[in-house]
Chain length 305, copies 5
């Protein structure tokens, strides 16, 4: 398999990484229907951990079975599938070699009273399960953010030495941020930038709104305004990821109408984002609907921006 | 990518292995022109270490450059490429994600006075270089065979825990064996069986002759003769590999005429062998000739047996 | 390259350090346009982490790209460039061997609710990224100051054993200090002294004001007054750094007019400070302006004090 | 300091190495009068260990003092200085930051009865002494060659992780080789190739003669003859070092006349070798003579090939 | 206590060592009647281990008691006392703080069949016993020389990190050397040089004879002859110790007449050696005689050379 010029360019950004990590990034970028484009669609199924099984899988009960998500990701021609330890242990052997996997190694749940997560898996787990990457969530602004970043530092260093890629979910939450603040443009850009600075290879953030949350940032954004347009906001996030030298993907967020989601994808595409992580919007729909939606998303990413 | 029924069957043989190792075996079996067939052609380039650079590369000087072998293996549509540490360090980043690699972790050389090898690389090296497997040579019958097997035990255990596959080159040599003995049918079958018993996922042996070398074995082979036919001999080796439950590939041996090599491949194919490791016969020919020869070999393995 | 008499004298102050650490201090002092003078100008780019990407880079968007800062520091003829892990990972290979680097190994951010920092990188990271030093921030007066100092102790010991230099950012903040207190003369001198006492090779503090903040210190400063003159205040800080036996550099602080900054540099120079760490005042200006400003700063440090 | 195009190209060959190792290779290539040319002259002073002090230093008694060799290497504008532990401990602090150093970490002596070496220093020593590389000798063909290669494997892996470069002295000696064999063309090329395959960044071998020593290699060299010309032989060694993808330098060998040495250097230059390691021919001459000779060597390497 | 100019100069030679090691070297040099002169007389009592108790102590039975040797060394005003683990364990507390001690950490015995030694104590032992240094014997030319040097490397690195000094007894013996060879001038100089190169702070060798043993060295010594005079030979050994940058002391050797011993001391003194290690010649004499002899030796070292 020859890498495309685009994928070669992307790999060149990871100039401190060993060939193992480069291979795993290449593997993700060269899989599925978007292979070679530098764009990605990833299926994450950590909602069961985060929100409980019924809230996650009752709308489409096939999703109670971990095998279902592998099948969905493979049939849809996605780039990778991300899941917690137990889910991969229950399915990774059956789908060995079929699609790159990302072992999500920390998790919170809806029963939590602290804005923190438990580290639930290790780099050794990722290797024995055949994963291409580990995934880790940080909560910038939480009272636990420093501990979370320190956990990430250790896991990321170990992962990189073992030739794995590191995907960071950067989700601001904490006492300084209300609901609006968590997805405000300045905060989303800041969260993405922190993920890049702590060494993420692939960064996942939520789509930003037009709000500016941090008082200290308002002056900057008023002097250097970001155009009030979704694509411009995504482009601003891309800039915050080392001017595009780090791959950044956006979550689809809450389950929503297909049209609304596709419009968001068009804006990500236009803004130069590297793709989408689509969870609930994929696995909570009946399979055929999900495949149709994912196919539409992929078509957008395949089109000329 | 969906696995074929054949590849799924093969993976089911490795029933104690973790999904990581299965993924890497699948990756090798699902790459190149033979993807999905259960057959493999692998390019090994360790001759520079074993025989010196000029004996290895003077006939086709392009081979002095480690990048050449990656290009050859990829263009020919092979399943994997095996090489020593330094050669992979000089090329693995340029070809990250393009073809599964096997890090050969021990080596001898023509200047050696002992029938032993030096361990030249580690599992950590294989991970940082993005390899799918480690390769290790044992010399059954050498005075050093037990040390070699014990080195293999440690490296193989570590490789398996890290989700890598283990390829064993089993080359009988030692005081009990003359040149004929080293490739005698009983000895070759025995060497393949030892590799299987010490835990190899993929076994590499030399094509056996009709000779029977071990006195103690002669009575058995006379009571239960193996048909005097190359395919039957290959089938005997396959039987020695857990009745076919372990992948076994055969070296092409010394550089030779294309016809002679293709006949051997036909016999391997007919005997149920899983493929060929073709080194000197590939990289010592001019590239176009090599691609033609490898294409012919692949065509044989793609045909109905 | 022969060291100047001045640099040899400086190295003699670090009398307990091994030749590795001395080499790295020498490397910093013998690089750029101030090579050999014992003065330094360092470019730090940790503002993206501390204040977010837009507040840091929107005024001069070239700075979103980590390569820009390396280029700026090299073209300006600076002594060293300091940055967080991810930024160095994205650029250190491209600029290998071009300028000494300082890996900043802990960071806070504007979303933090605690006066603490996360440890984001290790000595092993500094070695693999080819850095000459690690940089660490302590917050004397914070409720977390003792934990921070203990983290520094471990990292500094490991860094020194590995032949690296240790740069300490000593920034007083905490419940006893209002905004004025954080840069008061007694507090700044105290912060510099603590950094020296915990083993820093190079100390970075903010320029002190004439204020005296700590009640317990007022009597002393009234009996032994420091002349009300910026140069005298800088000289007082230098005294607090083992009477000049430790290198001390001053931050330029918030983006400001060139004249104001150059006056400050003149006072540092006159007071015997070893140089400036100029971040925002450099990278937030257009490149030509930044190069002009840095050149003017360097000219001051090159002049006879 | 900006790297030259040539040095950038050389660094690109070390595609699996981290920025630390690249920085140290760059440091060696960007130091001295040959800075930026891709050529090197290195001063090694391990003869005291190998041959004893009087045989090494009596001709020019200044050499008994370890400081002398640092001074000589710096004044001559060489790229690096290589020495044993004790010699660097006695001088590295005085010359910290002045020239890249290579800690030779194994040694034999003239009193040895075995073709082996003692490991005399570690990677930790190299870091605390501020070295850019470790140096290690292997004796291909010795009964101890496999142990030596295994020692090298461990030290090299540790050195690479710590951002150091690895220089391998590959000196064939053993029961299969008479004096002629040790420097025969086939053996020298083989020794260089083994060093490359075990992961050396810089390879040091002796200048090859026209002899072919290994019976098994004679047919190859008769079919693919190397022109009977010193430059052609050096070019053959360069080919054996991954077709020039690894830096290779040649020892000056026994003390000899300046003309003979300069002719050898001209041939290395014409053959594309990366430079010379000149020990006895430098430090056994009076300083002025040595500086003149080294200057003449450098002039050759600076000329258009 | 102020260090003398001479001792300061000596400490400056140990430029890579930490203040702990420098303190211990200073302690040895600033103790006893030779304090501050840069000369030393050390009492070693390892003969019990090497030759058995009766051969060692029967001539002066007081020596059976380990306390005796401490008393002797202190009363005689020596610089240090060296002994094996058990002897120090039986006396170090009684004489805590009275005189610097050297824990000899390896030993052979007269019952040995191999030219090797057992490592009998550790750096931890030296620390708990309050020692200033460890002592280690190597046998250059023995088949075990490489193992011994490797043991020394590990112990010396640990000792230096813990702030101890390292004293190396370098005693050539092995298949290449007859009795004459073991103390031949070339061999003694070589042995001293090896000790310096592996990192000894203080080197102990036997007084050299005028013989030249190694064939390969004869030409050198004939071209660059050493004057046939004991002082000239000692000066040659001093040169071999980094031109005097390492302290070198000489054993008194076999028990002998006082006159003969004093003449040897005069020659060491004239040749610039740093002193004597006097064992049997001290403790096998009655105490008063021993004190007289040691006093005479000290007087020689105190005189103007």
């Amino acid at each position: 398999m020859k890498l495309t010029r685009k994928v070669k360019e992307i790999l060149s950004w990871y100039e401190s990484d060993n060939p193992g990590t480069k291979s795993n990034i290449a593997r993700i970028l060269m899989t599925g229907k978007l292979a070679g484009t530098g764009r990605m669609v990833i299926l994450p199924v950590d909602q069961g951990f985060e929100h409980g099984p019924a809230r996650s899988f009752a709308p489409n009960p096939a999703g109670y079975d971990p095998h279902y998500h592998f099948e969905l990701a493979i049939e849809a021609g996605l780039n990778a599938y991300a899941a917690p330890l137990g889910a991969l242990e229950a399915s990774a052997a059956s789908f060995a070699g079929c699609i790159p996997t990302i072992l999500k190694v920390n998790h919170s749940n809806s029963l939590a009273t602290l804005k923190d997560q438990a580290v639930t898996a290790t780099v050794a787990d990722a290797l024995r399960l055949g994963c291409s990457a580990i995934g880790f969530t940080i909560y910038p602004s939480s009272e636990f953010q420093f501990e979370m970043i320190e956990e990430l530092r250790e896991l990321a260093a170990e992962a990189k030495a073992a030739g794995l890629a590191v995907v960071v979910w950067s989700y601001p939450r904490g006492p300084m941020l209300d609901k609006t603040g968590e997805t405000a443009l300045d905060i989303a850009a800041y969260a993405a930038h922190i993920a890049a600075l702590v060494g993420a290879h692939i960064i996942k953030v939520k789509p930003p709104t037009a709000a500016i949350s941090l008082d200290a940032a308002k002056k900057t954004y008023s002097s250097y305004p970001v155009e009030d347009d979704a694509a411009a906001r995504f482009a601003h996030i891309v800039k915050a990821c080392f001017n595009g030298r780090r791959l950044v993907v956006f979550s689809g967020g809450e389950a929503k109408g297909a049209d609304s989601l596709l419009n968001e994808v068009r804006a990500i595409h236009a803004g130069g984002g590297n793709g989408s992580i689509v969870g609930r919007n994929a696995f909570q729909r009946p399979k055929e609907e999900a495949l149709k939606l994912l196919s539409d998303i992929i078509d957008i990413y395949k089109s000329k921006p």
